[in-house]
């Protein structure tokens, strides 16, 4: 492995802009090329070879923005071999095409539908109980996990190439995701209880909030759209208040 550490650091920084110019045709293609560009500059001193390498990374790419770090690292691993003449020029593209879908599924399942909602629920509960210090703690903790994983995936992808799949499997993210979701459900439930306890007044208020929660849960399960339901809840509250309830 020959890439200078500061080049890898620049690639990591640029990985954070992966979706800056997301578009329906190439999706994260521009972001991927932007991220890998510093490595290609170092690997291909000849401008024509560098341009050709950059052009092949402008093809379609779409994955989870955090997990994509592993693919960027692995693509650099393959580009090093291409630059040394040990591999055909299409190998980095095969690597990208093979991994982008499965890693998108793993990332969406763990980060977007488990870890982030859990931290969101924890932060909401913390905001209600402790105020802003809880928010600072939640953001710091989330990003300690997020940035550490993102950097580790980039490094492992670069060092191990195709073997990065084994490193990712060892993280057991799908198994963790279910536990994290259940933790999120408990935290959201506690936040819900606090909100209902603080905002409902009197018997009518209590019945109103309980009704809104149960009806909302049922209707959202039947795929009712969220915002119309929000207005229905607001109107129901006003109606109950005007009719003299909850005083």
């Amino acid at each position: 492995m020959s890439l200078a550490p500061h080049t890898l650091a620049r690639v990591f920084w640029r990985c954070l802009f992966l979706q800056a110019a997301w578009n329906p045709r190439g999706m994260q293609n521009l972001g991927f090329a932007y991220a890998i560009d510093p490595a290609l500059r170092e690997l291909y001193p000849d401008p024509a070879a560098r341009q050709a390498a950059l052009a092949r990374h402008l093809g379609f790419f779409n994955s989870h923005p955090y997990m994509a770090a592993a693919i960027v690292g692995g693509a650099i691993h393959h580009e090093e071999r291409v630059a040394r003449g040990e591999e055909a020029a299409d190998q980095p593209l095969t690597y990208k095409a093979t991994l982008q879908g499965p890693l998108a599924a793993v990332g969406d399942g763990f980060f977007w539908t488990a870890l982030r909602p859990a931290f969101g629920a924890a932060a909401a509960l913390g905001a209600l109980v402790l105020g802003w210090p809880a928010l600072v703690a939640a953001v710091l903790l989330y990003n300690a996990v997020h940035l550490w994983l993102r950097f580790r995936l980039l490094r492992d992808g670069y060092l191990h190439g195709d073997e990065v799949v084994l490193d990712i499997r060892a993280l057991c993210l799908p198994a963790w995701a279910d536990r994290v979701r259940l933790t999120a459900a408990v935290l959201a439930g506690l936040a819900a209880a606090l909100l209902v306890d603080r905002s409902a007044g009197g018997l009518a208020g209590g019945l109103l909030t309980a009704g809104a929660a149960v009806a909302g849960f049922y209707l959202l399960g039947r795929k009712a759209p969220l915002l119309p339901l929000a207005y229905a809840a607001l109107l129901a509250g006003v109606a109950v208040g005007l009719l003299g309830g909850g005083s």
């Binding site: 578009n23 402008l58 909401a124 959202l220």
Partner: protein, 230 residues
Amino acid sequence: MGLLVLAAVAGLAAVERRGFLQAMLSRPVILGPLCGLALGDLGAGLLLGAVLELLFLGAVSLGASMALHETVATAAIAGGAALAGQRLGGQQVAVAALAVAVGLPLAIAGRLAEAAFDKGNQRLDERARRLLLAGDARGAMRCNLLGLAAPFALSALLAPLGAAAIGAAATLLLTAVPRLARPLELAFAAFAALACAAAARSLRTARAPFFFFGSAGTLLVILALGRLHR
């Protein structure tokens, strides 16, 4: 001055939401207090941020599917509630209900604008390819960063405008019809309850509802027993 700070915060949050970093800074629970603070009412931002976070807990763009734009809506709602709360000297919960009622459509407007920006980014893609063919690799790569401009501009424009509109509407209505305050408090309670239900629904695992309602019910019972004991 406060609205300018709000514009900057909302613009940066819109960039962070999808184009750069994605470190939770644009989530309602963090952005709400920041926007409330920008306009002098941290408390309104904390309350609204927590409730909107639960409402939008499942808001996530997966692949080409696009979620409601919770960031621009939160910035306008929290900012507007802070403005109105200061003018009225309190009535935080009633103001929060009005802010939500006026500001929620911005989540749809933001989503529509984002879809249009994505299509516009195809022109950046074409431009990058042209520049690369012409031998300007650095210029081609800069095209990626240009994609951040439109989301910033949209949110920096919509959030302060929305906040000003919400602030004016809430102040006018509660000054003209003060007896609406109590019904609006109940409206916010019902809205918060719905937000909690949305949070429970957003957690995609079969056992999530049991854990959600179990923990909520347990805490409500403990709080009620504590009140009885006192």
